[in-house]
């Protein structure tokens, strides 16, 4: 066990994977100088310019070329800088990478990790703050991961690099500096959620940085005598329906919280799945927290209006405990 930050954990995972497998390489803008957040610091010195590849500002080519290189047998780690810019490579990801193996009848593979830092990050405004994880969960062919802790950013990055499917890997920009203990021997199974806290009264499902807020909320609730079970999905595809359904059957109460826009967010999928498969177990109204269907503004007070906070999760948990199902 070592203490390290969220960003260091992923860097270590990448470094170890590159040391172990010569076909693993990283490709993106400014990687030689460490990448825009320092995710690749030191790696070009260690592995050279042919494996930590600095690219032109060509998102479509970064994504497309990495895919071509994956098809011939390398394992690229693609850096999109801000998940927003990945929209410049949507055809490449959705029409090409996600579909190729199927379209070609199983002839090809695309073992790629596509890193797209997501989320709100100090007054970055509407073009640098998005969380579009629900988009990727909707696309057959893609694995979708959203680590929220240093441990997960280590273990899940390792699992993602080892995975033969294309993995959309969504790190949250606001927690690069988050510290935590990392056990480098810990392996994570992709698709297994993490029960971050046990509780009997209400189930809180979340992922990415909001899962950290959910833990905070659960601590507050505990102080008020309410036992909240916090499930950090970690993976949105595949996702751990079993753990969620079992927990809801136990608690009878469900709050889902995420940073992305609520309408069409992945929270809808979680709530709908519970409604279909454990609707009879619900003892109170379901609560689904996400950003309003508005845009992220630059001014900090306006930006804050888009946030799901620990307080909001606490309130929602209490509402679901007090109210009857429906409203």
């Amino acid at each position: 066990m070592v203490m390290m930050t969220y960003i260091e954990a992923a860097r270590l995972a990448v470094q170890q994977a590159m040391a172990a497998d010569e076909t693993v390489w990283c490709v993106g803008e400014d990687l030689g100088r460490g990448g825009v957040f320092g995710q690749y610091l030191g790696l070009q010195v260690e592995f050279g310019k042919d494996r930590i590849v600095d690219t032109p500002i060509s998102e479509a080519a970064i994504m497309g070329a990495a895919f071509g290189a994956a098809m011939v047998g390398t394992r690229p780690i693609v850096e999109m800088r801000f998940s927003d810019f990945a929209l410049c490579a949507t055809d490449e990801l959705v029409n090409q990478i996600a579909k190729a193996r199927f379209m070609f009848g199983g002839q090809s593979r695309a073992p790629m990790v596509i890193r797209k830092p997501v989320g709100l990050w100090r007054s970055s405004a509407a073009q640098h703050s998005q969380s579009l994880e629900s988009w990727y969960a909707h696309i057959p062919g893609l694995v979708v991961l959203c680590p929220s802790t240093p441990q997960d950013n280590y273990s899940m990055m390792k699992a993602a690099i080892a995975c033969d499917d294309p993995v959309v890997y969504l790190e949250h920009k606001n927690i690069w500096g988050l510290e935590g203990e990392v056990d480098t021997s810990l392996e994570v199974e992709i698709g297994a959620a993490s029960r971050r806290r046990k509780g009997e009264d209400v189930t809180i499902v979340s992922w990415s940085n909001t899962a950290n807020l959910a833990v905070e909320a659960a601590e507050t609730l505990a102080g008020q005598g309410i036992g909240a079970e916090v499930i950090d999905l970690r993976a949105l595809w595949p996702w751990d329906k079993q753990m969620v359904l079992a927990s809801v059957r136990k608690t009878g109460r469900l709050v889902v919280a995420h940073e992305a826009v609520r309408v069409g967010g992945f929270g809808a999928e979680v709530v709908a799945t519970v409604a279909e498969h454990a609707g009879d177990a619900l003892k109170g109204p379901v609560r689904r927290l996400g950003a309003p269907r508005s845009l992220v503004a630059y001014a900090p007070n306006l930006e804050d209006k888009m946030r799901v906070t620990a307080d909001m999760i606490v309130t929602a948990a209490k509402e679901t405990l007090m109210g009857a199902a429906g409203k």
Binding site: G68, F102, L142
Partner: protein
């Protein structure tokens, strides 16, 4: 692969390949229009066979090819089995993509053909990346990427060619210019002096060739590919040709100026030209007829066999999507 040098044997091989491509596509059109066995759209390359035959003649099985929606000819010339291809067009078991891709996504990784593409221009960055991967792996294959004139107006043209240029990748980009983008004269929506100038501005050596002259295409692409194998940087080949049919087999192409097609086809059909060249080299008309008849017979058999093959098993609908979170485990 062609023997080195320019001789009757090579010229004959080019004709054989072009006749086979044409026969394949003529039968594919029959399958679509007469037999209603091809359900999706097919984009014939009839009239454009010189490019496929001439360029592919220089590739090994391990070299890599990417192509477009109009890729039957390239795929066949790269060495794919026409029966597997025809089965693919008919969506059958044993199709080279198991019936899951169809004409627009034809691929045969076994012969280095990494896929046709339904998105215009998308193959350009992917091909550059395949060459990048080859370089990383220290292999000595080369990559050929073929696209149409219309693709030169898409962003990935710039991004992919610049990429190859910057990383000095072993790749030949071929613009097979049939002068049309679907129903639009490409020239009317393309600014500047043309695609070769665009490639040059991105740092590639660009060569122009008569895309209806199989001999010329073979000669010029042979020189380029020799440079690539010798460690040279990426290159660009612009081959102007003409699409005899409509955009798809169902398109009557009424948007073409009156008489254009008749005139162009009479003047530039690459098969007719190659036949004439071989006659001039002393080959007999009977030999040429034999090549034609053999190609037609082969593809007639191919169509018959393909039509007799069953559709894929239903489970294939859920196979080869992904390993983790596969719909094989849970479809919904």
């Amino acid at each position: 692969m062609l023997e080195s040098g320019h001789n009757t044997q090579n010229a004959r091989q080019l004709l054989v390949m072009m006749e086979r491509i044409r026969a394949f596509e003529e039968h594919a059109i029959l399958a679509a229009e007469r037999d209603r066995l091809v359900l999706g759209a097919i984009h014939p390359s009839i009239g454009q066979e010189a490019c496929a035959a001439g360029v592919m003649a220089h590739l090994n099985r391990t070299d890599i090819l990417l192509s477009t929606h109009r890729g039957h000819g390239h795929t066949l010339a790269k060495g794919a089995d026409p029966l597997a291809m025809m089965r693919e067009l008919l969506g059958r078991t044993g199709g080279c993509c198991g019936g899951k891709g169809g004409s627009m996504h034809i691929a045969d990784f076994g012969v280095g053909m990494l896929g046709a593409n339904g998105v215009v221009g998308a193959n350009i960055t992917i091909a550059a990346g395949a060459a990048h991967g080859i370089k990383i792996l220290g292999q000595d294959h080369i990559v050929v990427d073929i696209f149409g004139d219309g693709a030169a107006n898409r962003g990935p043209f710039l991004e992919g060619i610049n990429w190859a240029s910057v990383f000095e990748l072993p790749i030949l980009f071929v613009c097979e210019d049939n002068q049309y983008s679907a129903t639009t004269r490409t020239g009317s929506v393309t600014g500047g002096p043309g695609v070769a100038a665009r490639a040059e501005a991105l740092g590639l050596r660009a060569t122009q060739v008569d895309g209806n002259d199989a001999e010329a295409v073979a000669r010029v692409s042979g020189e380029i590919i020799a440079r690539l194998r010798g460690g040279g940087g990426p290159e660009f080949l612009h081959a102007v040709t003409y699409r005899h049919t409509g955009h798809t087999s169902f398109d009557p192409a009424t948007y073409r100026p009156e008489g254009e097609a008749v005139k162009e086809i009479a003047a530039s059909d690459p098969i007719a030209r190659q036949r004439a060249a071989l006659l001039a080299m002393g080959l007999g008309q009977d030999v040429l007829d034999g090549i034609h008849t053999a190609a037609q017979a082969e593809m007639e058999r191919v169509l018959k066999d393909a039509a007799a093959t069953p559709f894929p098993p239903d489970e294939a609908a859920f196979a080869d999507v992904q390993d983790i979170g596969s719909p094989m485990q849970e479809a919904y």
